[in-house]
């Protein structure tokens, strides 16, 4: 009996201890005290990149740690946005982390990201002078700056040279009208099934934003959204006529199937079934590896715009959470990775487009990818347009995507725009 009692008491003690140990660990991690790593203060840095990209980030961290002796940045690959947010909300999160520009209004409103204005003022930085035009728009919410951009994503036109040649073209489209005309001529349908897509409808993003912006239109500004703008109307009207020409079922099936295979070996462009493609710099290496005979060109504008070009800009960024235990250290590292040597390492190692103006003409950056002559030109010469920086940004994106889907499903552009405008009127 005594043995049994001892066993049960022992087991309970072990269980209680393990639970206590767990809670102690949590308490330790939740500590708001600045942790010390030797003589240095620790800066916890969680990043969304994984795999090879994580190793590039670790190289930047090592370089930063070697460059000074006050802070020790400790990196952690956390490729799950929700895990980062959960960590921050529980007080166990990082001192600095990365995200996308579109998240900033929400993070600002929910008190997740810390305003950087005091730091910016103290260090005498003018972000508009430092970063590429348009990239700071996504980092500011209600006149406060919450993040600095690390990369600026713009798009370019990929074209399959063999498919264009077979269709009687020896060069990519020079105007948006020509792109729309080529889209029809390069599309083939057999037995009610699209066998070759001439239009850049896969992926189901980027193309409609770029086509909207190609005549200088925008979706408006926070508080004054313009869903029914000339550019979006032109884009959806063209889509409506394209869908009518080839059949809603055929086009929709190709887009649905292609969308599910985006960036895989069965991707329609990578498997030689999509003639034109609007996509970001990350797609270049995939296109190269696929063996497709392709070319890359700047996005065309409508004829009415003459030589003016436009592009859709979206940023990745770094921000300091409000629950950071070492915001001073985080700010120091944030400056290094967005404005200092870390920014150049980030671009050259990872192959992203720089958000830092000084890197646009840097020879090491230019040589980093064969695609950069087009993308860097787009970044420095085109008018860059971002989506409105509103709190319900993801709802706006869904609303506009639904409008595009409605037309792909056989609806009219007028109805789709009307419905989208009605829905968007309720967004904050």
């Amino acid at each position: 009996m005594k043995g049994k009692k001892a066993f049960s008491a022992g087991l309970t003690a072990v269980l209680m201890c393990s639970m206590m140990a767990g809670s102690t660990n949590m308490t330790y991690a939740a500590s708001t005290e600045k942790e010390q790593a030797g003589d240095r203060e620790t800066v916890n840095f969680w990043y969304l990149w994984g795999g090879d990209e994580a190793s590039y980030i670790e190289q930047i961290i090592d370089a930063y740690n070697a460059s000074q002796d006050k802070y020790q940045v400790v990196g952690l690959s956390t490729p799950d946005q929700q895990k980062v947010i959960t960590g921050i909300s529980g007080g166990n999160g990082p001192d600095i982390t990365d995200d996308f520009g579109t998240s900033i209004p929400n993070y600002a409103e929910q008190n997740i990201a810390m305003p950087l204005d005091d730091y910016i003022e103290k260090d005498g930085i003018n972000p508009e002078d430092v970063f590429v035009d348009g990239t700071m728009d996504e980092q500011v919410y209600q006149d406060k700056t919450y993040a600095f951009p690390i990369s600026a994503n713009v798009d370019a036109l990929y074209y399959n040279k063999d498919l264009l040649k077979a269709g009687g073209y020896d060069a990519p489209p020079k105007t948006m009208e020509e792109l729309q005309e080529m889209s029809s001529k390069l599309t083939t349908v057999e037995d009610g099934e699209v066998t070759q897509l001439g239009a850049p409808l896969v992926p189901n993003s980027y193309w409609w934003e770029c086509m909207t912006f190609a005549d200088g239109s925008t979706f408006g500004t926070p508080g004054a959204l313009e869903i029914d703008n000339e550019g979006f109307r032109k884009a959806l009207s063209w889509l409506e006529s394209y869908v009518k020409e080839f059949g809603s079922d055929a086009v929709n099936s190709f887009v649905t199937s292609g969308q599910a295979k985006v960036n895989s070996a069965q991707d329609p462009f990578l498997s030689g079934k999509e003639a034109l493609r609007i996509d970001g710099p990350w797609f270049y290496k995939m296109a190269e590896d696929s063996g497709v005979n392709f070319g890359l060109a700047m996005l065309p504008s409508y004829e009415s715009e003459g030589d003016k070009t436009y592009n859709y800009i979206a940023t990745s960024n770094f921000y300091i959470p409000t629950t950071a235990s070492n915001p001073d250290g985080a700010w120091d590292f944030l400056k290094y990775i967005t404005m200092g040597d870390g920014a150049k390492m980030f671009v050259t190692l990872k192959g992203d487009l720089p958000a830092l103006k000084s890197l646009l003409k840097d020879q090491d950056v230019i040589k980093a990818s064969a695609s950069y002559d087009v993308y860097l030109k787009a970044l420095s010469e085109s008018s860059l347009v971002a989506m409105p920086n509103i709190l319900d940004g993801s709802d706006l994106d869904v609303t506009l995507t639904n409008a595009v889907d409605s037309v792909v499903l056989g609806g009219s552009a007028d109805d789709a725009i009307q419905e989208a405008a009605d829905t968007a009127s309720g967004l904050e």
């Binding site: 309970t12 639904n402 889907d405």
Partner: protein, 314 residues
């Protein structure tokens, strides 16, 4: 727990029993603590949060019924509820009828019963993520195996996941593939029906259908009701498959809101999740959770009441 001793109407515990109770409680303590901390406390707090504006990082601010009122005006809330109700309305009868048929067939099989049972049960132990990714290939409108199979009968290609008309049937097909657990449970309960009932029915000249309808169904009705209740609850909680399908189709769902063409794949739990983690509206998400709980609770109650009238639990 050992039986109680009664003495003049008062319950008394012997020292040995007291010790046994203490030991029992100590052993159960980790579970009890886990339940209180990780189940009961969040349930109570979610009820409170549903009346607050709460982002998980700011302190919750009491807003009364605002979250519920906003949901009543939210188009996507109604869309997601409608999607889920349609899915439940099709999937529950479909899976139950299919399970019954398969169980009846398996019961009739004389040789290799264990083999067939294993075959039908196998999909239930498949990881959901892996099976959903496979279904994405099977349901592809151009190269999918299902369309290829249907084309043998001259059926035109169906855009299962891209045409809002077909998304719910596609989900039901996926669900029907995983009915193995229900089949095994129904098969086991069919084995409990007294064989003499079938023998006497046969002597009275009853056919296979009459025996199935008048003996098998009443004989397993109590298990059937339980399976229907489970199927309804699972139907209202349908999340993982649509989350994976939409993530694969859009590339990144966690940052977005909505799902599928014209939001036809936006199931209620998925929209709840998006409110919580994409929009960081924990108060709204909590309100949605409680509305879902009330709907499922009422439905279950109604079903049990109805079954009480017709089902002999004995």
């Amino acid at each position: 727990m050992r039986k109680l001793k009664r003495n003049d109407g008062k319950r008394t515990w012997s020292p040995r029993e007291k010790q046994a109770n203490r030991d029992g409680l100590l052993f159960a303590l980790p579970w009890i603590l886990g339940f209180l901390i990780f189940s009961l406390y969040p349930i109570i707090m979610s009820a409170y949060y549903s009346f607050t504006n709460f982002s998980a990082i700011k302190d919750p601010v009491w807003v009364g019924l605002k979250n519920y009122r906003m949901l009543m005006k939210d188009r996507l809330f109604w869309k997601s509820l409608n999607n889920t109700l349609v899915y439940v309305a099709i999937s529950v009868p479909a899976t139950i009828i299919l399970s019954l048929l398969l169980a009846a067939l398996l019961k009739a099989v004389k040789r290799g019963k264990a083999f067939y049972r294993s075959v039908f049960f196998l999909p239930s132990i498949f990881p959901v993520v892996a099976s959903t990714m496979i279904w994405l290939l099977v349901l592809d409108p151009i190269s999918g195996y299902l369309n290829r199979f249907l084309s043998l009968f001259g059926t035109p290609a169906i855009n299962w996941l891209g045409d809002p008309t077909w998304t719910k049937p596609a989900l039901v097909i996926m669900t029907c593939w995983g009915v193995g657990t229900t089949v095994v449970i129904l098969l086991a309960s069919m084995g409990d029906v007294p064989p003499e009932l079938y023998e006497s029915a046969s002597m009275d000249g009853a056919g296979a259908w009459t025996k199935f309808w008048h003996i098998t169904i009443p004989g397993i009705a109590h298990v059937l009701v339980y399976q229907i209740v489970l199927a309804i609850i699972n139907g209202f909680q349908y999340f993982t498959q649509v989350y994976i399908l939409c993530s694969a189709q859009s590339g990144n769902l966690s940052a977005g809101v909505g799902a599928g063409k014209k939001n036809s794949l936006l199931m209620y739990p998925l929209y709840l999740f998006q409110n919580a983690f994409a929009r960081l509206k924990m108060g709204t998400a909590s309100a949605m959770a409680w509305i879902l709980f009330i709907i499922v609770f009422v439905l279950t109650l109604v079903l049990i009441r109805i079954s009480d009238k017709y089902v002999d639990v004995k």
